[in-house]
Symmetry: C2
Subunit: 164 residues, 2 copies
C-alpha cells in the first residue's frame, strides 16, 4: 500500500488531545504544536484540513484555538484519515481493459467495473470499514488504559494551562 501522509499521525494525535479539553474550551495551535514537538506551520495545514472537513472548529482571535466539532464518539478514524489524505480509492484504474486488441465490441461490456478493479476496491473497503468502526472515543480509552500515570499528569497539566 502506498504510504499515507505523515499528517495523518499528527492529526490523530491532535484530535486526541482535543478530546481532553474541558467543555467549551479551545486549544491554541501554538500549544498543540508545542505539545507534539511539531512546528506550528506544519500543524496549521493539517488543522485546516480537519476544520474544512467539519471535524474541528477553529475559533479566531487572541483567545482562539481549536476544539472538536462533534463528540469524540462521533468522529471516526476514517473521518480524520480522509480529511488529511483524501477520499480517493487507493487502486488506480486507467481502464487498461479498454485498450489493445482484446477490447470488447459489446456496448454493455464496460457498464460494470473491471473484475480486477472490483477485487482491488473490495479489499481496500475492508480497511475503510475498519477505520469507520473506530472513533476518537476509542483512542481516548486507549490513552486512559495505556499512558502511564506520570505522563497522564503532565499531559493533564499542560492541557489545563493551555486551554482557553
Amino acid at each position: 500500500m502506498r504510504r499515507l501522509g505523515d499528517g495523518v499521525e499528527a492529526a490523530l494525535h491532535c484530535a486526541l488531545v482535543l478530546c481532553w479539553l474541558e467543555p467549551g474550551k479551545v486549544m491554541p495551535g501554538k500549544s498543540l504544536a508545542e505539545m507534539h514537538g511539531l512546528s506550528e506551520s506544519y500543524l496549521l495545514k493539517h488543522m485546516r484540513a480537519l476544520t474544512e472537513a467539519g471535524l474541528v472548529e477553529a475559533l479566531p482571535g487572541p483567545r482562539g484555538g481549536y476544539r472538536l466539532a462533534r463528540q469524540p464518539g462521533e468522529i471516526t478514524l476514517l473521518d480524520i484519515v480522509e480529511a488529511i489524505d483524501g477520499k480517493e480509492p487507493a487502486f488506480t484504474c486507467k481502464e487498461i481493459r479498454q485498450r489493445g486488441p482484446g477490447k470488447s465490441k459489446d456496448p454493455c461490456a464496460y457498464r460494470t467495473d473491471c473484475f480486477i478493479k472490483r477485487r482491488m476496491l473490495a479489499a481496500e473497503e475492508l480497511w475503510r470499514q475498519s477505520l469507520r468502526a473506530q472513533t476518537l472515543a476509542d483512542l481516548a480509552q486507549d490513552g486512559d488504559a495505556l499512558i502511564d500515570a506520570e505522563s497522564k499528569k503532565t499531559i493533564a497539566a499542560f492541557v489545563r494551562d493551555a486551554q482557553r
Copy 2:
C-alpha cells in the same frame, strides 16, 4: 488511502495474460505491451519488478519473453501489489508520542507500538489479508466468467500468435 502506483493495474493485467500461455511458452514484452495498449518501456519497469519479486521469469534473447514463475493459484494479488508498490505499511508513524512535554519518562513506555499506530496498522492488515487470500487463479476465473465470447476469442488468438 494514498493511491497505489498505476503500475499495479498494468502488472495485474499482464500477470493475468501470462496465465493463458500454453505450458512452457513465454510472451515477449512487446506483445504484452501491444495487448494492453501500453508502451513497452512503461511495461518493462513493471515486468522487471515482477521478475525481481520472483513472480515472473524473464527469458532473454530473440525467442525470449515472460512467463509466470509459479502456478496462478500460488501468486496472490498481494504478491503483485507489493512487487510493484513495496511492502511498507501505509501508515507513517514518526513517533510523535515521544515528543513534547507529554513524553514518558518510563523506560518501558515505548517498548510496544503507539496505540494509534496499532489501530492504523491493524486496519491496513485487513486489506493485506484480503489481497493475500486472492490469487491469479481467481482473476483467470473472473475472466472466464465475465469476458464476452468474442473478446475471449480475440484474446486467445492474440496469445496463440504471440507466445513463443
